[in-house]
Symmetry: C2
Subunit: 307 residues, 2 copies
């Protein structure tokens, strides 16, 4: 079984949307990535930091999904990272109402000894220096290092970001961020430029408009599943990344052909994530539901033209 180590936040989220509001609930990139990846056969660990206010119950949710939580630092008397967001009517845009870094401000991730030879490393959206420090702790070069990031780091820590980008095999980034990072409007040209910064594979996430995978001249596209109702987009991008990485870890095949399947698995899982608030849907997801929906993806995208 292949090992995968994830660095990413475990957090409190509070969400307001046209469909209602939550109290403080379980959130964070690391949480969503781990939950999504837990649907595949792999040995994974999350490296993160929380305060003593983070309920054991939340940690157990991940442990019960087979996620190793040794790398979760619990800061005594510390407070957990908190994010509060308000979604607008179309759910495509949101305002951040509150961001309290709390313990995350001093996060110094320590990769558990047993995971320093992981085949896959997933660097969830964090300060690029924190992401790089995880890569540097690995005893063996991972077969695949996957980086997620956002425009905030392009604005505030571009050189550090470019440095960590140079060290990874895959970058996942949304369309607007790809344009900002490359200074190119065309996503095809943007992906080429970003690939020149280091990553062999560039994944551009377009939210409800799907995701693109680039490797050199090869391009693959997966749509988001058209849904009757989207309830809460929080965590969809991280769920996509977790499904993508988890599938690759479970297969050990890093070819473009297999990455295509990984993109579909990621998109498939993300389509569940948005159906309920927070992690709720991801917690009770069954293998049968996943397979049924993969059939929907096939029906949605596959055609037969003789050429």
């Amino acid at each position: 079984m292949q090992k995968m180590v994830i660095v990413g936040t475990c957090a409190f989220d509070e969400i307001e949307s046209p469909f209602g509001k939550t109290g403080k609930i379980l959130g964070g990139a690391g949480t969503y990535i781990g939950l999504a990846a837990s649907n595949f056969d792999l040995d994974q660990a999350i490296v993160s930091i929380v305060g003593s206010d983070f309920p054991q119950e939340y940690i157990d949710i991940l442990k019960n999904k087979g996620v190793n939580m040794e790398g979760l630092e619990i800061v005594k008397d510390g407070k957990t990272f908190f994010w509060k967001g308000l979604y607008h009517n179309d759910l495509n845009s949101r305002d951040t109402l509150v961001t309290e870094l709390n313990t995350l401000a001093d996060f110094n991730p320590i990769v558990p000894e047993d995971y320093k030879d992981s085949e896959i490393v997933v660097l969830g959206n964090l300060h690029p220096i924190v992401q790089l420090s995880v890569l540097k702790q690995m005893n063996t070069k991972p077969k695949l290092a996957i980086l997620d990031t956002m425009n905030f780091w392009m604005d505030s820590a571009l050189e550090d970001l470019k440095n960590v980008i140079a060290h990874v095999d895959v970058i996942t980034i949304n369309d607007e961020e790809a344009r900002q990072l490359s200074d190119e409007y065309s996503l095809v040209v943007a992906a080429q430029k970003i690939s020149e910064m280091g990553p062999k594979f560039v994944v551009i996430k377009k939210g409800e408009h799907g995701a693109l995978l680039f490797e050199g001249e090869n391009i693959f596209f997966a749509p988001a599943l058209p849904l009757e109702e989207v309830f809460d987009p929080t965590g969809a991008g991280d769920t996509f990344a977790g499904g993508f990485a988890g599938y690759l870890a479970s297969t050990g095949d890093y070819s473009f052909e297999n990455m295509k399947r990984a993109i579909i698995h990621g998109s498939n899982l993300a389509s569940f994530c948005v159906e309920k608030f927070g992690t709720e849907r991801m917690q009770d997801l069954k293998p049968d539901e996943i397979n049924q929906r993969l059939l929907k993806f096939k029906a949605l995208t596959q055609f037969n033209i003789d050429l």
Copy 2:
């Protein structure tokens, strides 16, 4: 060979974009639909109206592609419909600078006798009363009536629009217009509601984000081909519709499976249309280029997951 009759504008367009400006060039929905459909094996006619300022050379472009132009009324001393638009930097939005209806204001389409038994009728974007009058001239019920429309008619002639929608088999409409017409945000729900108005098949065009085909519970999605450079989006939607309709006419198969192929053919042709100003790229398009690009669509979207 199946017959197809198209009603739609033959026009002068003038386009300004970040890539330059054109003088008055050949444009119009009927023109783009006919050019796209001419890549398939069918017997097609355009019903339209122009003024005597419309060059014979433009009519010959369509005739040389095998389009019957008997239904083109040329108004002596009349002026041809003229549209001038300005595209913004991202090419996703545009301002209409000039609209001169001219002869189009009194357009009373007459379907040529030979085409009153056409298997396919394509109702390009026009006043819904004009569209309906074409349907009523048919001697035999067409196997497939396809309607394109836009928000302008929803604002100004909603009841007439609903009336013609009730008489067609397929509607093509963009995402924002689908939302406006159905008063639903979710495109899945919007398509269901629009289908209840009459059309068995609903095609929602999302521009650079692709197109969705709905029939009851069945959904198919085709992306737009990611391009390094989009030069001029004018006519892309009509080219898509023309490719869709032309492929269906050439095959005579109106099943959902074949409609999927038609959506791919439409998307494929639209990807050429945007590469040059106006109709330029569509005029010199070769079968070999079309087939090569279909292979790109396959590579872009097809995957293999065993379930």
